[in-house]
C-alpha cells in the first residue's frame, strides 16, 4: 500500500468520525516526521538503484569551467544523468567534508597526488571500480596507474586524469628569466623581493620548497629544522599566502606579488590571457598527478560511465586544453593534437620520468606533525 492510499484511508476514518481531529493530525505529524527522518538513509538506498545525478567536486575556477563545458554537459546530454559539481580550495578541506558526510553524499572528486589517494584509502573511503566498464582506461599512461596500484594492488578506486607541476611563477616586468634560472627556488626567500612574494598556504608545498631552498631532497628531508627556518624566512618576506587558484591568478595579474610558486595550468591560463608571467620548474620541482576518485557508497555504474566518458579521447583532450593540464592519456598511444604538447609539464615519453612526485608514505607519515607545525610557523612561531 502506498503513502497516498494510507492517507486517503486515514482521512476517510476521520471524516466518518472513527478518529478524533487531534488523533488525525497527530498521525499526519508522525508520518511527516518519519518521512523526514528516513530520507537521508533512503538516499543511500536509492543510490543503488536508478540514478538521476552524480556529485563531482573539483578545484573550481578555470578547471571546473573546463569540466563543466567539455565533460559534464555533454555527459548529461548523452545519458540524462545530471552532474552536480561542487568546488573545494584544497584536498584537506574536502576530506574534512567527506568525513562528516554520509556514504553516497559525495561521489567523485578531482583529487591531487598519490598521497591523497593513500589518505582516502586509510580512511576506508575507497571504492572498487569495475574496469570492464571503463574501457577507455586502456589509454591511460601505465606510470600513472601503477602509482595508485602500489597502494591498492587488488583494485582501483580512481582513474588517473591529468598531471602538472607546482613551479615558480614570476612577473617578467620585475624578474627576468635569467634571474629566475639563477636563483631557482631560493628566489622565494630573496630579500630583494620582500613584500612582493607569495606562496600557497599548504604545508606540503611550503616544506617541499623549503627542502629545495636548503638543498635537500624533498622526499627525504634530513635537516628538518633548516627547512622550517626557510619556511619562516619565506613567511617574513611574503605579502600573502594564497588559498585558491583564483586568488593565485588574481595576485599575479594585479601585480600585488611578483613571484610565487604556482600551479602550471593556472599560470598557463594567465599567459593565455595576455599576462607576461613566466613559469619555471626548478630541479626537483613539485610534480603531481590528479585523478577522478570514486568514493565509497557512490552509484558505481553511473560513476564508471562518467569516468569512461571523461577518459574518451575527444573529451579528455578538450578538458585538458580547457584546464591547461596535460591529460593522463598515453601520448605514445593517442594523438593529443597540437596544443597539449605545448602545455607546461607535458611529458611526450609517457613515462613521467622527468617529474618528481611526492612519496605518499613519507609525506603522509609526516602529515600530523608538519601540518600542525606549519600552523604555528605561519603565525610567527
Amino acid at each position: 500500500m502506498d503513502d497516498t492510499k494510507r492517507y486517503e484511508r486515514l482521512r476517510e476514518r476521520f471524516q466518518n468520525g472513527d478518529i478524533s481531529r487531534r488523533r488525525f493530525f497527530g498521525l499526519l505529524g508522525a508520518a511527516g516526521a518519519a518521512y523526514g527522518l528516513q530520507m537521508p538513509f533512503a538516499r543511500q538506498a536509492l543510490a543503488a538503484g536508478d540514478v538521476s545525478q552524480v556529485r563531482f567536486d573539483g578545484w573550481g575556477g578555470v578547471v571546473s569551467e573546463a569540466f563543466r563545458k567539455h565533460a559534464f554537459d555533454p555527459y548529461t546530454d548523452k545519458t540524462g544523468i545530471k552532474v552536480i559539481d561542487g568546488t573545494f580550495p584544497g584536498g584537506d578541506e574536502y576530506l574534512a567534508l567527506v568525513r562528516a558526510s554520509q556514504p553516497g553524499e559525495y561521489n567523485i572528486a578531482h583529487l591531487s597526488g598519490v598521497f591523497d589517494y593513500a589518505r582516502y584509502h586509510s580512511f576506508d573511503l575507497t571504492s572498487e571500480l569495475n574496469l570492464a566498464n571503463i574501457p577507455n582506461m586502456a589509454n591511460v599512461m601505465p606510470a600513472l596507474m601503477n602509482a595508485f596500484k602500489s597502494i591498492t594492488p587488488d583494485s582501483l578506486s580512481a582513474a588517473p586524469y591529468d598531471y602538472g607541476t607546482t613551479g615558480l611563477a614570476y612577473n617578467r616586468k620585475f624578474i627576468s628569466d635569467e634571474e629566475m634560472k639563477e636563483k631557482g627556488a631560493k628566489i622565494l626567500i630573496d630579500e630583494k623581493h620582500k613584500g612582493k612574494i607569495g606562496g600557497w598556504s599548504d604545508w606540503r608545498t611550503r616544506m617541499w620548497y623549503a627542502a629545495l631552498q636548503t638543498g635537500q631532497d624533498p622526499n627525504n628531508i634530513e635537516d628538518v629544522e633548516a627547512a622550517w627556518d626557510a619556511v619562516r624566512k619565506h613567511r617574513d618576506l611574503a605579502l600573502k599566502y594564497w588559498a585558491s587558484g583564483a586568488e593565485l591568478m588574481s595576485l599575479l595579474a594585479e601585480e600585488e606579488i611578483h613571484v610565487t610558486e604556482g600551479w602550471s595550468g593556472r599560470i598557463f591560463a594567465l599567459q593565455e590571457q595576455g599576462h607576461d608571467i613566466g613559469y619555471y620548474d626548478p630541479p626537483n620541482g613539485f610534480g603531481w598527478q590528479e585523478c577522478l576518485f570514486v568514493l565509497k557508497g557512490s552509484p558505481m555504474a553511473a560513476c564508471e560511465e562518467l569516468l569512461n566518458f571523461m577518459l574518451d579521447k575527444d573529451t579528455s583532450i578538450a578538458v585538458a586544453e580547457g584546464q591547461s593540464y596535460p591529460p593522463a592519456l598515453d601520448p605514445t598511444k593517442v594523438d593529443l593534437g597540437d596544443k597539449i604538447p605545448k602545455l607546461p609539464a607535458f611529458d611526450a615519453t609517457g613515462t613521467l620520468s622527468g617529474l618528481t612526485f611526492a612519496n605518499p608514505a613519507y609525506w603522509n607519515g609526516n602529515e600530523a606533525d608538519w601540518s600542525k607545525e606549519f600552523g604555528r610557523v605561519q603565525r610567527g612561531y
Binding site: 578541506e93 605579502l239 601585480e255 603565525r379
Partner: protein, 288 residues
C-alpha cells in the same frame, strides 16, 4: 484533564517547535563538540574515543593559543571601538533627521543584501596596488609608485568595521530614537549648552544601545574567520582560523572542538557580564 492542567501545558505546546529546533540544532551539536573535545586524534589520523584531557591541556597551557586568543580579543576591541566612534554620529543623525528616517535606515540595511565575502573582497579592488585608491593618487600626482595597503592587520580591522558598522548604528539608533527629546529641551532651559545636554542627558540614556552594539560587534568580530583569510597577511590570524586549521587542515577534530569551546566560553563570559549589568532586553530591541 482539568482546565488548570491544560492551561499549564499550553505554553509548552506553543514553545515545542522552537525548543525542538534549539535542542536539535544547538544543544545536541554542542554536546557532540564537548564529547569530541575529550577524544584524541591517533597517529594514524583516526579519532580515539575516551576521556582524555590532552586537548584541553594543550589549549589552556600552550602560549601559541593564548597569544592568538589575546590578539583576537585585541582586534575585536579595536573594531568595536572604531565602530562605536563611527556609528554614534551616524545613528544620531538618523535618529534626529526629520522625515527621511526610513530611507536612511533602508540605506543602512542595503549592504546586507550583498554577500559578506563579496563586500570584504571589494577592498582588494579599492586598496590594491592597481586598485581605485592607488590609481586615483597616481593620477592626481600625489604618489609615483603604488602604496602597499593590503594584507595586514589594519585591513583586517577595516574589513571587520565595514561588516559590523550597521549592527552598531542600528543598536544606537534604537536607543536614541526612544529618548524623549523634551529632556534635551529641559536641559537647555536649565542653562545647559547643547554639548552639555548631549553629554549629561542624551549620551547616558543611549548607553544601553551603545553597549548592545558593542557586545554584538565584539562577539561577531572575535568569532570571525573569513576576513583575516581575505584581507590578512601570512601572520594575521584570529582564533577562529586556528579552529578551522585544526578541524579542516589537520583533521584534528578533538583539538578543534576544544579550541572552539574555549572561544565559546570566553565570549560567553562576556555575554554573561553584559547581561548581569545591562540585561539582554536592549540587545533584543537592537536586533528586532
Amino acid at each position: 484533564m482539568s482546565i488548570e492542567q491544560r492551561e499549564a501545558r499550553q505554553p509548552w505546546i506553543l514553545l515545542a517547535p522552537a525548543l525542538t529546533a534549539i535542542v536539535m540544532l544547538l544543544i545536541v551539536p554542542l554536546v557532540f563538540i564537548v564529547v569530541y573535545s575529550f577524544w584524541l586524534k591517533s597517529a594514524a589520523g583516526a579519532d580515539t574515543p575516551g576521556f582524555f584531557l590532552d586537548n584541553w591541556q594543550e589549549a589552556l597551557t600552550d602560549p601559541f593559543y593564548r597569544d592568538i586568543l589575546l590578539n583576537t580579543l585585541k582586534i575585536a576591541a579595536i573594531t568595536t571601538l572604531v565602530c562605536a566612534l563611527l556609528g554614534y554620529p551616524a545613528a544620531f543623525f538618523i535618529a534626529r533627521s526629520q522625515g527621511n528616517k526610513v530611507v536612511l535606515l533602508v540605506l543602512l540595511m542595503l549592504p546586507f543584501w550583498i554577500s559578506y565575502i563579496i563586500r570584504t573582497m571589494s577592498w582588494i579592488n579599492i586598496l590594491g596596488v592597481s586598485g581605485a585608491l592607488n590609481s586615483a593618487m597616481i593620477w592626481l600626482g600625489i604618489i609615483n609608485e603604488p602604496i602597499q595597503m593590503l594584507y595586514n592587520e589594519t585591513t583586517v580591522i577595516l574589513g571587520l568595521v565595514h561588516f559590523l558598522l550597521p549592527f552598531m548604528v542600528l543598536n544606537i539608533f534604537v536607543s536614541l530614537d526612544g529618548i524623549d527629546t523634551n529632556l534635551e529641551d529641559a536641559a537647555s532651559s536649565l542653562g545647559a549648552t547643547r554639548w552639555q545636554g548631549f553629554l549629561q542627558v542624551t549620551l547616558p540614556l543611549s548607553l544601553p544601545g551603545l553597549a548592545a552594539g558593542g557586545l554584538l560587534c565584539f562577539v561577531l568580530s572575535a568569532g570571525t574567520y573569513i576576513t583575516p583569510v581575505i584581507l590578512g597577511g601570512p601572520r594575521d590570524a584570529m582564533f577562529a582560523n586556528l579552529v578551522y586549521e585544526a578541524i579542516i587542515r589537520q583533521l584534528n577534530w578533538p583539538l578543534g572542538s576544544a579550541l572552539s569551546l574555549l572561544l565559546l566560553v570566553v565570549l560567553g563570559v562576556l555575554v554573561i557580564i553584559y547581561n548581569r549589568y545591562l540585561g539582554m532586553a536592549q540587545l533584543a530591541k537592537g536586533l528586532g
